[in-house]
Symmetry: C2
Subunit: 333 residues, 2 copies
């Protein structure tokens, strides 16, 4: 295993320390229990927005903490759910009196722990709602998930709920928007290589020289099928077709699109993927109204990418365009 780390057991803590040092104008990191929180939290009268999950998917979620997006993020160890006490502490820290929304990717540990945290918070008087993101069309049920996995649509839900909260919308309205984004969002990923979990020290799975994992999960969970490497034109078409037929998306739709690298794939290749995706969508009269291309939800050092599409309307696009100031997403400020 070759990584820019010290001791494998210190990876998350040390990365968070560097992250905190780099972005102290926006956020701070608390270490006992561990959470990333807006420097100016809580914002009185505003709904707090929290997410969290295992580390190894950066910038998700800590990189989306800041004005107009998340108020806090709870990072677990690599690919491991954070614990209820992290979520409870983060929820308390961002409670400005208007309640707190938990945005939770659908993994069994995350869902269970966020539920326990919500109960603890409500017992002490904080109103909590949760939105479960389950946008990954690759497989039904998976290694760590009952039902569909939650992946890239989480980024859109965090942005749009964050904007809604910043506008002063109340908790039920913000939660309904999160649900709407999830209902209208679909994702799929594929891997050219495995990732290597630092504590394991070896690749999570093995792929042959000419093989890819289509529909891979963000922790290296198996996808739909192992298939031969093909030109990206064919791979993008496979992913797009699976995503589009699932909702289904239709001609005349507008979408927010994301092509995210999984950590080991450079911008040069991601833009080729995006180019193919836009050609496919244009041929179906689907308009890409907004897009992200880069590392937004990664799987450690895995080579590959994911595609996410959210069917958008004026309301979602307007919230998308609102100012955001986080380490990984910034505009209008």
């Amino acid at each position: 295993m070759k990584k820019l780390i010290n001791d494998p057991g210190d990876v998350v803590r040390e990365s968070l320390a560097g992250f905190a040092a780099a972005h102290s104008d926006i956020l701070k990191v608390c270490f006992d229990p561990v959470y990333v929180v807006r420097a100016d939290a809580p914002v009185t009268g505003k709904v707090g927005i929290i997410s969290g999950g295992g580390s190894g998917h950066e910038p998700l979620h800590g990189g989306f903490v800041g004005q107009g997006m998340l108020d806090a993020a709870c990072p677990g160890q690599v690919f491991t759910s954070p614990s209820p006490d992290q979520m409870e502490a983060a929820t308390s820290a961002v409670d400005g009196g208007a309640g707190v929304l938990h945005i939770v990717k659908n993994y069994t540990g995350d869902v269970m722990n966020f539920e326990m945290a919500a109960e603890l918070c409500e017992a002490s008087g904080t109103q909590v709602e949760a939105v479960i993101i389950n946008d990954d069309v690759a497989v039904q049920d998976s290694l760590y998930t009952a039902g569909r996995r939650g992946t890239g649509t989480t980024v859109m839900a965090e942005k749009i709920c964050g904007a809604a909260a910043a506008r002063g919308y109340d908790l039920s309205r913000v939660a309904a928007l999160g649900q709407k984004v999830n209902d209208k969002g679909r994702s799929m990923g594929m891997a050219l290589s495995s990732c290597t979990v630092p504590a394991a020290g070896k690749p999570t799975f093995e792929l042959g020289e000419g093989e890819i994992e289509m529909g891979v999960g963000i922790h290296g969970e198996p996808g739909r099928e192992r298939m031969p490497l093909q030109p990206v034109r064919a791979l993008a078409a496979y992913m797009a077709e699976t995503i589009l037929s699932d909702l289904p998306f239709r001609g005349g739709d507008r979408v927010i699109a994301m092509v995210s690298g999984l950590g080991g794939t450079p911008p040069l290749e991601l833009y080729i993927v995006y180019g193919e995706l836009e050609l496919i969508l244009r041929a179906r009269q689907i308009e890409v109204s907004r897009r992200l291309v880069g590392n937004y939800i990664t799987s450690l050092d895995m080579a590959g990418c994911s595609i996410s599409l959210v069917q958008a309307d004026d309301e979602l696009l307007s919230l998308w365009d609102d100012p955001v100031h986080t380490p990984a997403l910034r505009w209008g400020t």
Copy 2:
């Protein structure tokens, strides 16, 4: 070779097509000859800022085209200098009557071609100045370079010259600022793995399982030494020491710092590197006033990172903070 591409010969053109589709609000890509240019070029009365070089280092340079940074970028084939006709066409396209600055990384082909283009442009009445970036402290002379190679400081030079031009500074003043950034900037990189050039189809160099290349060039050129993999604490200390003693940087200095991934290294690891770097600098009473952590100057899919430091003063920091709106760097807009 496993990459998200179609035909290896189409990589640059297809990536640029996707890039143009993704960022048509900011820029357009001309294909004959090839250059990326601000959508609103030329800006009358403003000094034009151009850079360019081989592809494979994205977001450098095209990702820095936009308001407050580059007016145009000339991408060559992967790791291959663009040609004088690209540079001449780009220079003409951004000539708003106040002259054009060429920001050139010190590689023999780039320098020669930008010189030829400058002569052609001056013959047709456009005033051109050039700044050569040669900030890489790893080696004196290299595979494609007489003198030091040009790497990460290019990003700072492009931002600061772009801001100066946007303020309306004249050509000689903008060029002097570019020279100042180069004079005060130093960089060094290291590789955990080789990159693979698509047309070659195999790794550019071989590294043993426990080996790294310290001081690697952004095209995979040999560095200072091949050494055993060590904790990132030791690797960061080696790079920082080499950089700091070269200028030299001194206690009380303020710096703009960049930790750039080389394409195959994820954010989780880059923030560990940044954390180590900031500890080293703090111990020497050097203050990081501004920083970038992410993929800014890559080497295709190489795993590893580079560190760049620019000794900053009020003038440089003020220009750094000016608004910028490009695909890869955005604030204040």
